[in-house]
Symmetry: C2
């Protein structure tokens, strides 16, 4: 018995997203079937829809910030029952056998299966994401949503939340740490909230004036205009960690001097060659590092959701109807969203 | 009472090193006076002599890999007595009050005083290094040389040794770690020896064939020609840590894929802008890092010397007379040394 669902798909790099009927797989014994309530809209959805990374499988049904309710569980499912409120993020499977998988770092597994536009090696079919009525996922890749969290604001935690939470934890942010976040978008605004909740002193680096009020509301203690050399100089040697969420090519050299000895700048938003030659001198002279980080593994994603539950943290979202997705993509390209679009799946119609 | 000494100095960027008489400071109560037995010849000596970094104070007496014997101690000196065999490395003072100093990371102190060609803030005089008969150093910056270590081979431990030991320790190399060393010079050959003694599986990356026999003797288990893409591909995802000792601009991108998830490439030899745009994608996709590291602090330098004492580790050196220093510089520029020149200070004459 396959599950027939309605979703929204793009059929080519230049096409708009349109209603699309397809089938979910026959649930396996370890599968959870989920009726989708909300799905966040990530920049990756837009990049994949337009084949910006050259590996899109069409028709593509995007969406990897999924919140839903369990409607059925397989015979071997132990962690979920019908009626549970659950989440699904960027991953729906992994090899479960490699070193990263053994350490709960499924995001770094060579066999990790992305939630959409990836080939599922178990059946050879292309995965389809959360811009749809329902999804069928192995229970290992399903997450519990803590009681009391606003569900529409919880959706972006599954990607934007874990992408910033994971490096904050990995690089040991705690009470009294000094953290900067570069860029104030979907990732950046979560970075501010999470770093603040961990007890850090938080700074926002931004190129555009006028973001101060919002940044302070979201958790920043200070806002530094990265375009102003004197403001940058004033924070030299300040930060234990910089979470760089900027999604386009940019020069890292101005940020490195703002790190403390042993500080790290972690890229989470941009994957590609740097434009300006990275100067290694300040790295050597003060044992600093430039690193990257990709979403988070399943155990850490659950930990992040529980942390958000305890601290009442959700994303700032703008809820849209499913048929407004193409307009939302246009606005995202202009960074015209505070700070994440979330699709109300009840609005999904043919 | 000042101490009159003979040394070798360069008087301009283009001048040869020549005999030079100067005075050491009146020993303070916490000073140790040391008769120099051996002094290693580091690439930094050459760079500073020729003012390659633009900050040389002439006349410059280079040398920061000093081995000697204590000839006098001040009234407050507690850790040394006359007759002790001691070492002095790259630093002769620091502020003793900042966060790095509190953590024994004097090399990252903004007030650190280099062993030569630096202004000593306590008396405003320019520091002069180990190409000389004697040196006067605060006891906090003097190191015990373990019994039984060959003294000429111990000299390069004070810079080349600690420069590779510190990142191996900081990034947690232990039994079973997988470490690569890039470049086989003064630093690289120490990297091989130290990583091996820590129990790591050790690989040498080199651009030049013909180094295999020596590399295996020095501690490498494997030699990989970095100029051969198939050899590089064969070690993809292998290393926990790469110690990059290459002292000139080079492209880091070919090395990043050879790191494991969570692996780090640490630069210790090159301070300057990279030539090729660093690709951030592999950093993000596998949580890798590019970092730097500078020599080591005093506690760790002593730890390194003790470790070398236990394991019988010294540098492979070619002992030269003081008056052969200019010829040695010429050979160093051609990498014609296996693997460190050390000056026998008994040969120092007017």
């Amino acid at each position: 018995m396959t599950i027939k669902v309605l979703g929204y798909a793009a059929h080519s790099p230049t096409a708009s997203l349109v209603p699309y009927r397809f089938e979910r797989r026959d649930p396996r014994a370890d599968d959870v079937t989920i009726a989708i309530i909300y799905c966040g809209v990530c920049h990756s959805d837009l990049h994949t829809t337009h084949n910006d990374w050259g590996n899109t499988q069409y028709p593509v049904v995007p969406g990897h910030e999924i919140i839903g309710r369990v409607t059925a569980v397989g015979a071997k499912v132990t962690r979920f029952k019908v009626g549970d409120t659950v989440g699904v993020g960027c991953l729906v499977d992994s090899c479960q056998d490699c070193e990263p998988c053994e350490h709960g770092l499924e995001q770094y597994c060579k066999g990790a299966v992305l939630t959409y536009s990836a080939i599922d090696p178990k059946d050879g079919r292309v995965t389809k994401g959360g811009y749809s009525q329902a999804v069928v996922v192995n229970e290992k890749f399903v997450l519990h949503i803590p009681n009391g969290l606003d569900l529409k604001g919880a959706a972006p935690l599954l990607c934007a939340g874990i992408t910033t939470y994971s490096p904050l934890r990995h690089w040991g942010v705690k009470q009294g740490s000094n953290v900067a976040v570069t860029g104030l978008g979907g990732l950046g605004h979560m970075g501010l909230k999470l770093a603040k909740a961990m007890g850090a002193e938080v700074t926002l680096f931004t190129r555009s004036p006028g973001k101060e009020k919002d940044a302070l509301r979201l958790g920043a203690d200070t806002v530094v205009l990265s375009s102003k050399p004197d403001e940058m100089k004033a924070v030299a040697g300040t930060f234990d960690l910089i979470i760089d969420t900027v999604p386009y090519v940019h020069d890292l050299n101005p940020y490195i001097p703002t790190l403390k000895v042993d500080g790290t700048l972690v890229l989470v938003g941009y994957l590609g060659p740097l434009d300006n030659a990275l100067n290694t001198a300040p790295l050597v002279l003060e044992r600093k590092a430039v690193a990257g980080s990709l979403i988070g593994g399943l155990p850490e994603t659950q930990e992040m959701l529980d942390f958000c539950g305890e601290h009442g943290i959700t994303a700032d979202v703008e809820v849209i109807r499913m048929d407004a997705i193409n307009e939302a993509y246009v606005r995202m390209r202009k960074s015209d969203v505070k700070y994440r679009f979330v699709i109300d799946m009840a609005s999904l119609k043919d």
